[in-house]
Point group: C2
Chain length 333, copies 2
C-alpha cells in the first residue's frame, strides 16, 4: 500500500516527518511512504540516515501551505503545495491515504475540494481519539471540521465513527453516546433533542446522552457532537489538564522538601500525564472524505508521525473507506 | 433588607440551610432572613442553637419540590412548596431576594413563572462565577438556563453580566469575552459569528473571542455563551479536574514512601484544589428575572448558604436589578 505524507506540514517539518517516515518504511516493508515537499530539504535528511530505502519515495513540491494561510484561498492558489499534491494522489488513487501535520483548515479544504466527499455524506468530520482513564480512549467526532451540524449529520457521524472504532480499534459493538448536558433523553438543545430519536433508530449501538463531566471515565466508545461543542469540550479538557499540571509543577518546586517529595511521586505522575496526553493518541482521520485523509498533531515528533502512518495502514487494511461507503449507501436505499 | 430562603432545597436540607441562615443573621443585623419550609423540622433546629434571633423569620410551607420533580409541572402544581412561596415573596416584594439550593430547573421555572422576566429581556441566564488561577474568577453566563440562544440574547447576557461583575465584584470596566473555538473574529458557528459584530457595538467592553483552553488563566471578566456550550464547557472543566485529583490520590497512596511524599505536598495542593472548587464560588443568580433569584449549589454546606446570603445582600445593596432594568430600557429606546 502507498501512503502520501506532507513532508512540509507541522511545527518541526520536514525533519521529524522524514525521521518518522524512515522509521515506518524500515518496520513495514509492505508499505511505500511518499514524502512530498521540497526535495532540496528532504533528500539531505534521508541521505544523513543512510541509503534511501526502496519503499521510500520523494515527490517534489514547490510550494508550502503555511500555518496562518487562509485555508480555501491557499488550497485554490497553491496548486503545487505539498498538501495539495498529497490530496491529488489520494483522489487519483496513486496513494491509498495521505497524512499531514499542517494547517488543519487547509487539510479539511484539501479533503473537500481535492479528494471530494463520499456520496451521501453531507459533511466530513474530524475524528479524534480522546484519552480516557481506562486506557481505551474514545473516538470523538466532529472535533471541529464543521461548526454547525444537522441532526441527520450527527447520525452520519455516528455511523462513520462506529465503523472506524470497529475496524481500526477492534471494538465489536461500539457504544455510541451523544454529547449532552444531561443523561435523560429529553435533555439538550434543539439539535441534540432532534438527533436523539434518529440515533435510536440508526444501525448503531446507541447508549444515549453522555455528559462531558463523565467523559474521561470512558462512558462510550464513540462520542458524537457538532464541531463547535466538540471543540469547546476538547479544549476545556486540555486547558484544565494543562492548568493543573502547571500548578503541580509550581507546588513541586516550592522548596527542597517538596522537590524531594516530587521526585518520589514523579514516575507515577508522568505515566498518568502521558495517559491524558492528546498528542499521544495518534492522527485524526477526516471521515466522510472519499479517501483516507489523516491530520497529525502540529507538534508531532517522529514517533507521532510513525504512529500516524501505522493508523493509516490499519485504516487501509481494514477497508474503513469502502465500509463507510457501503453502509451509507445501504442507508440511502 | 429581607432575604427569603428555601429551607427545604439541597442535599443537606433543612439542617445546613438553617445553620447558614443563623450564621448570617448573627453577622448582619440589617438583614432579615426568612426560612421557608416545614416548621416542624425547622423550629427544632433553630431552638437547638439558642433563642430565635429577631431578624430570623420562619414561614411554613406544606410542600417540597424534590430533586427529580419535573420542573414546570412541580412549580405549577405544588403551589405551597417552599421554593414557590419564596418566589412569590420576591414577586410581591415582601422579600428583596430569594435563594434555593434545590432543583435547578424548578428554580428557573419559579423565576420565569412566579417572579417573571424583566421587560426587554428575552431569556434569563444562569450566571456562575468560574474560578481562575489568578484568583479573580470570571462571571460566566449562560450556564444552562436556556440551551439555545440568539445573537441578540448573547448581547443581553453580556450587558447583564457586565453590570453584575461591576456591581457585585467591583470590577470597573469588565472585559467581556465570547466563548469560541478560536480567537480570530471570523471563527465559530452561526451563532457566534452573528453575535460578534453585535457585541462589538454593544455598550460593554468587548475583548473578542475566548478559547476554552485559556479559561482558567482568566482571559476576561465576563464570559458569554449559549447555555448548551456553557454547560459543556463547565462540566468538561469539572470532569477533568475531578479525574486528575482522583488519579493524584491514587498515586499518593500507592505505598509508604509516596504517602510520606504526599504529606509534604498536601498543604499546597489542598489550597490549589480549593482554588479550583466550583462549590466555593458562591451562588449563581438568574439574571434577567425581575427580582433577585439565586441558585446555591445542591451540595452546599452552612458556609456556602451563608455566602449565598452575603451575595444576595451585595446584589440588593448595589441595586443590580434596577441597573439591569434601566440599561436594558436605554438600549430599547
Amino acid at each position: 500500500m502507498r501512503i502520501a505524507i506532507d513532508a512540509m506540514g507541522g511545527d518541526h517539518a520536514p525533519d521529524v516527518v522524514v525521521a518518522g517516515a524512515l522509521e515506518a518504511v524500515r518496520e513495514w516493508k509492505d508499505t511505500t511512504v511518499i514524502l512530498i515537499g521540497d526535495k532540496a530539504r528532504i533528500e539531505p535528511l534521508v541521505r544523513q540516515a543512510g541509503d534511501q530505502p526502496s519503499n521510500l519515495e520523494i515527490v517534489h513540491a514547490s510550494e508550502v501551505i503555511e500555518a496562518d494561510d487562509e485555508p480555501v484561498k491557499a488550497v485554490r492558489r497553491k496548486k503545487d503545495a505539498s498538501m495539495v499534491i498529497a490530496g491529488r494522489m489520494v483522489q487519483e488513487r496513486t496513494a491509498d491515504a495521505m497524512i499531514s501535520a499542517g494547517n488543519t483548515g487547509a487539510l479539511m479544504t484539501t479533503g473537500l475540494l481535492i479528494v471530494g466527499r463520499i456520496e451521501g455524506i453531507d459533511r466530513p468530520a474530524l475524528t479524534l481519539t480522546i484519552p480516557s482513564m481506562d486506557g481505551k480512549g474514545m473516538v470523538a467526532l466532529d472535533m471541529g471540521a464543521n461548526m454547525d451540524a444537522s441532526p441527520e449529520q450527527l447520525v452520519q457521524y455516528a455511523i462513520m465513527g462506529s465503523i472506524y472504532r470497529k475496524k481500526v480499534h477492534g471494538v465489536v459493538s461500539p457504544r455510541v453516546g451523544l454529547l449532552n448536558v444531561g443523561t435523560e433523553a429529553l435533555k439538550g438543545n434543539e439539535l441534540t433533542k432532534a438527533a436523539y430519536p434518529l440515533l435510536k433508530e440508526a444501525p448503531i449501538h446507541f447508549v444515549g446522552n453522555v455528559e462531558s463531566r463523565d467523559l474521561l471515565s470512558g462512558p462510550c466508545d464513540v462520542l458524537v457532537c457538532d464541531g463547535f461543542a466538540g471543540n469547546i469540550m476538547l479544549k476545556s479538557l486540555e486547558g484544565a489538564a494543562a492548568t493543573i499540571f502547571t500548578a503541580l509543577r509550581t507546588e513541586f518546586t516550592r522548596n527542597l522538601l517538596t522537590k524531594l517529595a516530587a521526585a518520589v511521586l514523579k514516575p507515577g505522575l508522568t505515566k498518568f500525564r502521558r495517559q491524558l496526553d492528546y498528542t499521544e493518541y495518534g492522527a485524526a482521520p477526516l471521515l466522510g472524505i472519499n479517501g483516507m485523509v489523516l491530520k497529525s498533531h502540529g507538534s508531532s515528533n517522529a514517533t507521532a508521525i510513525k504512529n500516524a502512518i501505522r493508523q493509516a495502514r490499519i485504516s487501509i487494511q481494514s477497508d474503513v473507506l469502502a465500509t463507510i461507503k457501503s453502509e451509507i449507501n445501504n442507508g440511502n436505499k
